[in-house]
Subunit: 146 residues, 4 copies
């Protein structure tokens, strides 16, 4: 892995994160960045609901995708970004209220192919956590263009 200080690593991910119009729109925030790990959160609001008022699967998927993607980015060379080739997500439970937290973890950072996983938990008003999705993801390094 490239050697960034903890601050540089956080800054690197935050710079990309804040450029994502969709994450701003949904109301997601960046919680934690470590080598090979990234945690993001998404509070419940009408902006992220499905037809029954619970968090939309698409919101869980988007959150898991970027948590895994940024976990992968922590291990990419400085001049590179990563892009998602594909992911697969299982939904385990559905919730309204509270917030979602997705934690992405790097499984293997190959030169050509990067594999990551993410776990999404729901946190209710009392702080109770329940796992609600697991994701497995493939990414590739790509040149940074901005």
């Amino acid at each position: 892995m490239p050697t960034f200080s903890q601050d540089e690593l956080y800054k690197r991910i935050e710079t990309s994160f804040l450029r994502q119009g969709m994450m701003q729109n949904l109301g997601a925030t960046l919680l934690r960045v470590e080598p090979g790990l990234c945690e993001v959160s998404l509070p419940h609001s009408e902006r992220v609901t499905q037809q029954q008022g619970s968090f939309h699967g698409g919101a869980m998927g988007a959150l898991a995708d970027i948590a895994g993607g940024y976990a992968a980015l922590t291990a990419a060379p400085p001049e590179m970004e990563v892009t998602t080739v594909e992911y697969k997500i299982n939904f385990l439970a559905s919730f309204a209220g509270g917030e979602l937290r997705a934690t992405g973890q790097l499984v293997k950072a190959g030169k050509r192919i990067i594999v990551a996983t993410a776990e999404v938990v729901h946190v209710d008003a009392d702080g109770k956590q329940t796992i609600c999705a697991v994701m497995q993801q493939t990414l590739v390094p790509v040149p940074k263009t901005y």
Copy 2:
């Protein structure tokens, strides 16, 4: 499959679609509903971008998820809904501008397990279409609660 008239079928899907806060928020619209098929569209806007200004993978995933899900719903008994167990999506190309169109298709409607696929194409200002994602999805029927 249950026998709905074409109008009833469209109404059924539209009722659920319009209740999805996230789809309203992203700016998605329902284009077409047929037995075993559903097409939805999403114009490009700042609400759905990733860090480079292209459509966010999470937006493509959410669009594919509901296209497949509503294709499945066209085949569910009247008093039932469907819920996504899991999906897997491959991203083939990335675009800014224009709009995305996701077409979901029912593969098999079992009593307990439903399988659907979806294809996402990008349509540019000149109407040129390019495939940009393919998805494979598992759903289950669940009782309707609203």
Copy 3:
């Protein structure tokens, strides 16, 4: 796609296929090769059963994997092979007797990433065909080493 004659294309796939100890062991045969397409078959035998005597999911998975992989190989440069990065398979029905036929199809042959799908059907003694699995797969080109 590279320009091979139909015969050269078949030969190319067959050469690799016959080197696969596992396919020989399971009893699989190569049925059809076209640009972007490959069909393989596997007759039912005790070598490929699960605990209830039906075709093992692992046999369906292996068959779908190589059907998709060889569909991808038909589009690779002459000095290259392809290797599977990942696949996802849904099982739709389970059968004993007869044979399985898996047809792989190329979805997109990128320079770095190749995407293919495969459909597995069961063919019974009377020739009746029933779909029993669908697969979606990611591959990469790799240098040929034999």
Copy 4:
């Protein structure tokens, strides 16, 4: 989870495992069974190779599928079995020689839907372990018919 003694649990899994013609054919053995966990191994032989002599992806997939499936079975009611709805597997590295060990783990045992994961490692002649595949899987409980 149902209450089986450790011996009963092992016996339960072994009974099913020994009935799988394909696992006998490939040369797989059952290593370990605990509540929510199952480990199986597969030594390298010509019965499980791809065209370059390494373990076939289909062999890794089959091994991961049954490791996850038996981890799920440890949590099923006594009169039930489980069947795989779908799985997704990423291949991380390729090996010849030595053996593969797949460890399946239960993620969530719902009444209708069970989710499991599996990790496949390669063990070389010196005992050195390298991760070579990760899998995520959906299963359903089904009545036992034998």
